[in-house]
Symmetry: C2
Subunit: 385 residues, 2 copies
């Protein structure tokens, strides 16, 4: 078996030789934990003084949670279910941020009982829920910010404007809660480095106004959206970090705690999905490859991007001229198609293995057994001795 | 608790009194098996002489498979995983159609070993795979037909034209396979009653031509696509049946076996999903309701329909003027939104229960635990004594 090269990001630790050495049936998803540790270190270096709270929704595998916990990262959760997963590996709920702005009351109560003390919100109704079920908790408001540079904008569902945010933080105090901080989300896979800086600037003005009114916020949370590389270029974390750090340094009031919630950025590039070709066809003037993994058992982001998702690809087929393939999944569903012009050697055939890079984030997190096809088996390498 | 009425299809057996009597925590998905039996009977009456092979991908719950098996239905599978589920409840693989046109070679071999003898195909490569791994098998060709009237067209990924289909059936014979039949798929949730009749007509011409060349096909498979009701009208099965039966009666050559592969049509309307409201908000000029179930833990078809999916809704809130709500799921993902103008009483609040009807198909089949939110607990009523 030979594995071709591709002009794309690819974990150095999961090159052709390493993949060839993996002796397990496909489909599998191999994740290099050392790549995640490196990524975490690079993030901290690029954003000095900013604590990482990993957005575990992106990939809640216990192996990854343990690795980041050992590196000193905190966590960000969307539900009580996620908190329970963290508790099972020994994470202290006090080190967890509950950043879903709209939470089930029963989840708030149980998280409060477990010792989680920091909750996001963006409305008076949510404040009332928190005041009732987590009395005295620290609360941070979610600002609505410009998310036009991101692959998945979030501003319709969550966030409030700065005027309302000001009123809400005062209301929090009246409800016996602790006005604690500000957060925002520039949107997932954000490609505009200025997005965080602009949001920091907006948050800074609000924090300064609050300070003049006697409320000193303790936390500024830069949210997530930090991109991972697929086949097209994205801003480097050093570039995002430089612009954002400049904005932080220019804050009229700098809160004692700065955090960020990277998810995809830390884990996506650390994994490779191996799937066997189950059929190859010429349909009209297109080459089609049918893989044993598709949208429903591992690659669901393709459903949200009608043009397909640009995972970097390699294959076990002999090297040859690269030609465009429609690469589709194994189910009877036509929307189960991964990409419409993925470049692979023209000799790829049934039985070959296709390797999809940058598959560590938002893959197994929502894989199902639809049509009876199992998700890839997870495999981890690079654990610390 | 009172449950409002809605001008929409709703299982008579899952009305307000019955739902109120259900004593289990939300979220749950309650399915009335008697409604599925009735639907199966109505389908058979509307299409006399057509055997049902249930498309289990739509909802592979063993309770539903058992109920349809007891009614005499056969099954249609997309993978070996689905065959194993059927075998576990005692279905004979000989009564199963393997209608996924592109299959993993290992699945073909294992299905063949289990006694499954009928396989669909639409290409020479697939015929070669079947000839190698299921020698002597009966094969039926998938025609590409007009699917423009359906919610989910399928013609890009599967199907071949009649000229190629003719050649492929002759090739099948040369490969030692048994040219067995023709199938097609008009697309999921097809709203054009003529679609099946037109495809039957096309298939009839091909069958007639083959008969003149000495090949008498044994099966015509009408595929799926039979619609379920949500909030807007769909053609009744009696209407589709009348037009289709007329086309069948006009066939120049009528094969001894006629089958169809309904999925959604048999099961969708038989189920109601109950989800508690976890937050209600006024955002801009819109009312937003946040439910504990959304796209990722039960309602994934909304990801494929950007305008939302028109599930009929009721709620436990006091009756009142119906106003439009944006109804969204519990995750931090903005695409996790179910509908943008769902009509509910203006008094709906956090803690009320929202009931989504017509949720029996394509719901639990691809639900995940994304963001840590569990899928609804399945509950079945109406089993035969």
């Amino acid at each position: 078996m030979t594995i071709g090269t591709a002009p794309s990001p690819w974990p150095a630790t999961l090159g052709p030789a390493q993949l060839q050495a993996i002796d397990m049936p496909t489909p599998y998803l191999v994740t290099d934990l050392s790549a995640i540790r490196d990524r975490h270190a690079a993030f901290r270096a690029a954003l000095p003084g900013v604590r990482v709270h990993y957005a575990m929704k992106c990939n809640p595998s216990p192996e990854i949670l343990r690795a980041l916990h050992a590196e000193g990262a905190g966590f960000e959760i969307a539900s009580l279910g996620e908190l329970r997963t963290l508790q099972a590996i020994g994470v202290d709920p006090a080190d967890v941020l509950y950043s879903n702005p709209v939470k089930p009351p029963s989840h708030i109560a149980a998280a409060h009982a477990a010792g989680l003390w920091r909750y996001s919100f963006d409305s008076p109704n949510e404040l009332a829920k928190i005041a009732e079920h987590a009395p005295g908790a620290a609360v941070y408001v979610r600002l609505r910010v410009d998310d036009q540079g991101s692959a998945f904008p979030l501003s319709r569902k969550f966030g409030t404007d700065t005027e309302d945010a000001y009123d809400l933080l005062l209301l929090a105090e009246r409800l016996g809660l602790r006005p604690y901080g500000i957060t925002f989300h520039v949107g997932s896979q954000c490609l505009r480095p200025d997005a965080w800086a602009e949001a920091v600037d907006t948050a800074g003005k609000l924090m300064d106004r609050l300070r003049h009114d006697g409320i000193e916020l303790e936390m500024l949370d830069l949210g997530g959206g930090f991109p991972a590389r697929y086949t097209t270029g994205v801003p480097a974390i050093e570039q995002i970090g430089a612009v954002t750090t400049e904005a932080i340094d220019a804050l009229p009031y700098r809160p004692p705690l700065l955090v960020a919630e990277p998810g995809r950025h830390l884990v996506a590039e650390a994994a490779v999905l191996a799937a066997t070709v189950i059929g190859h066809e010429r349909r009209g003037d297109q080459n089609w490859l049918y893989l044993e993994v598709g949208a429903f058992n591992g690659l669901m982001e393709v459903l949200q991007t009608p043009g397909g998702w640009d995972y970097p690809v390699r294959s076990s087929a002999p090297a040859g001229d690269l030609v465009p393939y429609v690469v589709t999944g194994p189910t009877c569903d036509s929307s189960d198609t991964i990409g419409y012009a993925m470049m692979l050697p023209e000799g790829v055939r049934t039985g070959d293995v296709v390797y999809l890079g940058s598959t560590g984030g938002y893959t197994l997190a929502y894989a199902s057994h639809f049509n009876g096809f199992a998700p890839p088996t997870p495999l981890f390498v690079g654990a610390r001795e």
